[in-house]
């Protein structure tokens, strides 16, 4: 089953959001407009808008406000992707050429900045300070997460805690914020808002862990980029951390990266196999499962509804995600 099937009944609302996204990025300059539109058309799971919609439907559903929040969050996410591709020197994203590759670094920088500006222009139509407090804090943390990711590249002595803090900032916080903003817009009480924030946080942690696993277990076609790409870039993810508990593997890996210029995706194959043989994939799935259980537990007390059931289904789906 595909993730999208769990929320297929939101098709109409998601279409409205998609249309709004298309409208918001209509820049005056054709290059900015085309680059942004191409990125939008490349698709994506739109999980942030989905969480905004689902949590927004748990209370008083204000369609205009929800649309604005969802569009802004997705634009922020897209802006970070465009800039990430500059950092990673990436040629492909979701199987399509990146803006950086198709145009160049400068265009990618301006497009990302343009998208972020549009996101802030859009979200400020909402006056509730709580929305801006939450989103701005998350945005700062996302940026810090990206910087910390750079800092810990090739750091073979980092621990599980460092990794978890990094993925919290990189992925979980924006998903948590999506749930929180939807809930705030719906007028839910403080306790419910907090629970949904935590749900999003746990889901985000699990989602990122599985993304990190898939970097080793999926095919390039499924990934839309080469397998082992994260490790090749020096990003030490959970499977690598678990595999490095084996001292011999850790030594081999450290030796390999001593001359970074010699690292290519071709010599990743051996290490990918090793990571699998050492049981690091299963161990990582186990951690992901722990987060998913927490996500399911935390929303137990939320009153029954279609949206709540979908939130639960999403958690179940993420646990089974294999591509």
């Amino acid at each position: 089953m595909k993730l999208a099937k769990t929320y297929s009944y939101l098709k109409k609302e998601l279409h409205i959001i998609e249309k709004a996204l298309g409208t918001v990025i209509q820049a005056e300059h054709p290059v900015l407009r085309t680059a942004s539109t191409q990125l939008l058309k490349a698709g994506g799971k739109r999980i942030r808008p989905v969480f905004v919609l689902l949590t927004g439907k748990l209370g008083h559903f204000n369609v205009e406000q929800i649309k604005t929040i969802a569009v802004s969050l997705e634009l922020i996410h897209m802006a970070t992707l465009v800039h990430d591709d500059v950092i990673d020197d990436a040629e492909l994203r979701r199987g399509h050429p990146t803006i950086k590759h198709q145009y160049d670094n400068r265009v990618a920088m301006y497009t990302g900045d343009y998208m972020l500006a549009r996101a802030l222009e859009s979200i400020t139509s909402i006056k509730d300070p709580a929305i801006h407090n939450s989103l701005s804090k998350a945005l700062v943390e996302v940026c810090i997460g990206e910087i910390e990711q750079m800092k810990y590249k090739y750091d073979w002595n980092q621990n599980l805690r460092t990794y978890l803090r990094r993925i919290k900032r990189k992925t979980a916080l924006l998903i948590a914020t999506s749930c929180q903003l939807g809930a705030l817009s719906a007028g839910l009480n403080q306790s419910e808002v907090r629970k949904l924030y935590k749900y999003g946080y746990y889901i985000g942690m699990s989602y990122q862990i599985i993304d990190d696993i898939l970097d080793f277990t999926s095919t390039p076609k499924e990934l839309g980029k080469p397998a082992g790409n994260d490790l090749c870039q020096g990003n030490i993810t959970l499977p690598v951390l678990f595999a490095m508990r084996d001292e011999t593997f850790k030594k081999q890996l450290k030796n390999l990266f001593e001359d970074k210029d010699k690292i290519t995706l071709n010599n990743m194959d051996y290490y990918i196999e090793k990571i699998k043989d050492l049981g690091a994939i299963e161990a990582s799935y186990y951690v992901s499962e722990l987060y998913l259980n927490k996500a399911l537990n935390i929303i137990q007390d939320i009153p029954e509804s279609t949206s709540k059931r979908t939130l639960e289904n999403i958690a179940h789906y993420i646990g089974k995600r294999r591509s």
């Binding site: 900015l32 020197d89 343009y114 972020l116 500006a117 222009e121 300070p129 804090k137």
Partner: protein, 248 residues
Amino acid sequence: MHNISSELEKIKTDIEDEVHYKYLEKYIQKPKIEQEKLFLIYSILLNHNISFSKKNNYIITTMLVQLALDTHDLVNNDETVDQSGVTIEQQLNVLAGDYYSSLYYLFLSKIEEQRLIHTLAVAIREINEAKIKLYYHEFKSFEELLDIVKKIESTLYTHIALFIDESTLVPFIEEWLLLITLSKLKYKKEPTIFDKMYISSNDTDFMNFIDTQMEQQMRQLREITSQLPERYISLKNHSEIFLNKLVK
């Protein structure tokens, strides 16, 4: 005057503290706060009827946006890229710019200034539109080129002026910042937006045009300055000193 410079020094330190990030500073240059722009935003707000702390916050956030934009201009299509991809400086300039942008949003959210967040976001959008135009060298004449540069250099500040209902300042801000940029270009004091956009200052025709243009700009600026309300005495004096220096 002494008070103004010590206050500006204090604000500059506050901004530097705000953007301080040890890991970033290990690899990339500390963001450069342009003295003229800091002075400008300070003077715009000086006589405006808002609290001292609010004023400070407005100045800090505007400068954060300026730093974010400037830092992203340092990310180029570099020839120094090594085999493994992009240099760490390039990568961190991307992240530093994003970080400064996020700080502006956080700063203004804390004081519930949604309207200013919006104003600055509009300015950022317009500046990026202008930058991409300049980057693709989409101008048919030197005059058009200077119009784009004027937009890039002044939009943040003109939007702040409009935000506080001081539209009389807009022509002054535009002409003053353009003249500063042109003088930097002419005397090669420091890199300008022209260098960042690969517009060569070795072109004789272009530099001759700049010379003529600067004279015209100076006359225009004197005229605009003379019409500024008296409450902008510090701007008037400062611009007078600047113009006199240029004449010498």
